[in-house]
Amino acid sequence: EADIYQTPRYLVIGTGKKITLECSQTMGHDKMYWYQQDPGMELHLIHYSYGVNSTEKGDLSSESTVSRIRTEHFPLTLESARPSHTSQYLCASSDFRSSGANVLTFGAGSRLTVL
């Protein structure tokens, strides 16, 4: 049962618009992540957070920003969308501590198309 929710699932917008992709999890996980994925390509980590008021940029440079004001909520914002931002955005969370595999639980994704 998926306990991590992303909205909207699909979004088509014009260039220059500001958009926020919502991500919420009900599992109480400390760690949350945003990945970007294009068809046939690997998932690229663009942002992550290890707790409230903690955010870091990932391995792939992104013009988006994130915030973590509450444990369960990790929204991603694009101030001015461009066609190059067209992609699928996947949110994930985990309760990883310091040992074992870091198993991420993913949301269903938000597919963004910028015209």
């Binding site: 991590i4 390509m41 690997e42 980590l45 994930a92 074992g100 595999a101 639980t105 993913f106």
Partner: protein, 113 residues
């Protein structure tokens, strides 16, 4: 530089036969490896993982093999079922990098009835 690579974009097998999905990596610091399955319009779901200190881990129809000297791992699905048709992603993590996951490009598996 891509540290995790899945060189086969697609694989087609018959129902009941074995599916073997392959993954290569370059970073010797990786200490855990994971496989995820992804259906269209859904997020990836976790399948199975293996620690770098092991060479095999089994869970039902799914077995992952790790060859550290070759920096290669594979996922075996036996027997394959039509419901296994999905994109399979290999991922790896290193404690030195906060155990964040690095993913491969995925392999589209199609199991034909």
């Amino acid at each position: 530089d891509q540290q995790v690579k899945q060189n086969s974009p697609s694989l087609s097998v018959q129902e009941g036969r074995i599916s073997i999905l392959n993954c290569d990596y370059t970073n010797s610091m990786f200490d855990y490896f994971l496989w995820y399955k992804k259906y269209p319009a859904e997020g990836p779901t976790f399948l199975i993982s293996i620690s770098s200190i092991k060479d095999k881990n089994e869970d039902g129809r799914f077995t992952v093999f790790l060859n550290k000297s070759a920096k290669h791992l594979s996922l075996h699905i036996v027997p394959s079922q039509p419901g296994d048709s999905a994109v399979y992603f290999c991922a790896a993590s290193a404690a030195a990098s906060g155990s964040r996951l690095t993913f491969g490009e995925g392999t589209q598996l199609t199991v034909n009835p």
